[in-house]
Symmetry: C2
Subunit: 411 residues, 2 copies
């Protein structure tokens, strides 16, 4: 249970946050509408908005007539009040993007990774170099960058030092956050890539409007981002959401994590292709890379009985995995993404929904809607960039650079 006092300052920050969040989320709003939406008095809205206007976080955006009275002045978060940078550190590339506060991309750089494993120092170098380049390309000053969000393909422990464990990158307990923070003054936030993609979908994609949701990602591996009560759930040490390694068949197929019967071993693209090869007398699905082979497999369902069976089973397994989420979490929405998930979902969403219904309890199943991700895979960096924005909104628009005291006190 939280034991934290509230002071009169917290109150003002909280109300600033409420106003700013409303403006950001619900587009241009007049002061009048703000009052209704936040249940703050008109006087307070006026006072708080005045402050936000003066600081430049919020700006006027035209006006709208009102049945013969004084027209309402619309307010919006000033897109150029500051900028945010999102970085994606993946197995095959490091991507860095710079956005304004309206989430318009102003600059992008990407560095392909040729080596099998990405040394942490090299990753730091790429991210910092990318940061400098996008700032330069966008023609802004570094002072205007409110924060840098970094998405990593691995478990990220605690927001404090952001220790990263990433099997696929060969990282074990790398203090990635601290390493980045040593190189720049810009506030850093590190998170798991699945979480940032989930965050992006929740804000701008198929998760809009939901407060309890799961974004399930199926690619070569399988993961999920849990959203509870409107914000992402991280567990004790922020490694929650390892849905891919939950047991779906006791003593089943061996998984690369070492355990047996993990969901990932059945519905991850790698696992599906292996299962196909097994059922197909050892002959693998044709195709240059995994993605090509997987697409080919799906396309051959009409002609190959083996393919049809394997894909049908995959939908069944995925449905059971979804049902587990439904029964455990009782979410209002599940969003399916990841490249393999999208390929499957585009073709078999109705079947998938049926499969979930077969495994889930009636009550929670009736309350969940199952949808597909609307944003592409590039949304990982977008989601990472929302981290500093979320902080800005939570803090009620205090510029973390010019008023570091507020942030420091916040956590």
């Amino acid at each position: 249970m939280d034991v934290r006092r509230t002071t009169v300052r917290d109150m003002r920050r909280s109300n600033r946050s409420v106003i700013l969040t409303s403006i950001y989320r619900d587009g241009p709003l007049s002061r009048y509408e703000l009052g209704h939406q936040t249940s703050l008095s008109a006087a307070s809205v006026s006072n708080l908005v005045g402050e936000l206007l003066e600081e430049g976080v919020v700006e006027e955006a035209g006006s709208v007539e009102s049945d013969g009275g004084r027209p309402r002045v619309l307010l919006r978060v000033s897109p150029t009040f500051g900028y945010v940078v999102g970085a994606e550190v993946g197995e095959t590339r490091v991507r860095v993007e710079l956005f304004d506060l309206a989430m318009k991309v102003l600059a992008t750089v990407a560095y392909p990774i040729e080596t099998a494993e990405l040394a942490p120092e090299l990753a730091v170098k790429y991210v910092m170099q990318g940061l400098a380049e996008v700032i330069d390309e966008a023609g802004i000053s570094a002072d205007q960058v409110l924060g840098l969000g970094v998405a990593v393909a691995g478990i990220v422990e605690g927001p404090a030092d952001a220790v990263v464990h990433a099997q696929t990158l060969g990282w074990d307990a790398v203090p990635f956050g601290a390493m980045l923070a040593a190189k720049t003054d810009i506030p850093i936030q590190v998170d798991n890539g699945a979480n940032t993609l989930g965050q992006a979908e929740m804000w701008f994609g198929a998760g809009r409007g939901a407060t309890d949701a799961v974004v399930a990602l199926v690619g070569s591996g399988v993961g999920a981002a849990l959203v509870t009560g409107g914000s992402s759930y991280r567990g004790t040490r922020s490694s929650a959401g390892e849905w891919g390694h939950t047991t779906i068949t006791y003593a089943g197929r061996r998984c690369r994590c070492g355990a047996e019967g993990c969901l990932e071993a059945y519905v991850g693209a790698e696992g599906v292709l292996e299962r196909f090869q097994l059922a197909n007398k050892g002959i693998p699905a044709p195709g240059g890379d995994e993605e090509e082979a997987f697409t080919g497999l799906l396309d051959s369902v009409g002609t190959s009985e083996v393919a049809a069976e394997v894909v049908g089973d995959t939908i069944g397994y995925l449905g059971a995995g979804f049902a587990n989420l439904v029964n455990l979490f009782n979410p209002e929405r599940i969003v399916l993404g990841g490249w393999a998930g999208l390929l499957l979902g585009e073709r078999y969403l109705p079947q998938l929904r049926d499969a979930v219904g077969k495994h889930a309890l009636r009550q929670p199943y009736a309350q969940v809607s199952i949808e597909l991700c609307e944003l592409g895979r590039d949304a990982v960096a977008l989601g990472a960039a929302t981290l500093p924005i979320l902080r800005l909104l939570r803090e009620g628009g205090a510029n973390p650079r010019s008023a570091p005291g507020l942030i420091a006190r916040a956590r």
Copy 2:
């Protein structure tokens, strides 16, 4: 995202809540210690405590000397400020207990249920009758009862009208909360029995001190209470936690919920006994009722190879089920309870821990501790009685009966 203003009154209520919660949770405390713990100024502590003292929620409890200075006056929540009633509506009985605020049992009544199904009207009658009886037996007035918490063996939808779906009772969409509220002025809170037992363990049992935990209950059926960030997680429509009906073996044993391969079908007492009978050439485990048979099965592990195998498998399945929780939630603690769970846990806790380790990812597994419930099954009613107490603490000690305005405004 929450859009809710904060007023100066919310601030005071919040601070009252912080103080009261501290006093309740951390035993008798002096004003001085309270200041340190809540980071409130001494002046505010004095002010707030004065108010709480005057209202009678808090009382002085002796003093302790302090190295030659003025002794500290200890404060505690007055056990007799009010009373709370917890009721358990189960398949075999309706139990009603009355507690003071120190959670001392002052009166208990129980009504055995002979019929196969308990009609909702009858349940209401039993609960109300029990309420009247415990009040009478304890010799207090009905005005002094702060609230009535009711635990039901089924899914409880939303705290508003508390619609209950309970397969085992034969209830479908019964507005149980509204039915109870129609009969009394005492504030009513209805929740799932697994949740209330979990709540009891979190406050007074093996869950003390944890903020992210799961209380797993294994009896004839299987359920779980999820605790995230210190308070119980309920999902969109409060049916979260149906761990027993997550798939652990795809296309496996049929479960009574209609699906196949549910965890409950493997580790629930009923499922275990069925599995034994199947492995034992159709000969069931001896014993009058389920509990006797289950205990007998466990006791025969040393002599019967079949029993050893079935029980060993059970531990394996349970371990995988726990691992799923560990991977998905990253909790800091898992508490095993339920009568069958305790029987298993007393004998095989180390083996269970190993089984979890085999199925869980290294990181989250290293951060979780697996323990046994410390309270008996009667704790269901105890946990139900904590619901009104939790509300009292959240509201900062406003008596919901004498100052209904505060509660009404609170939600």
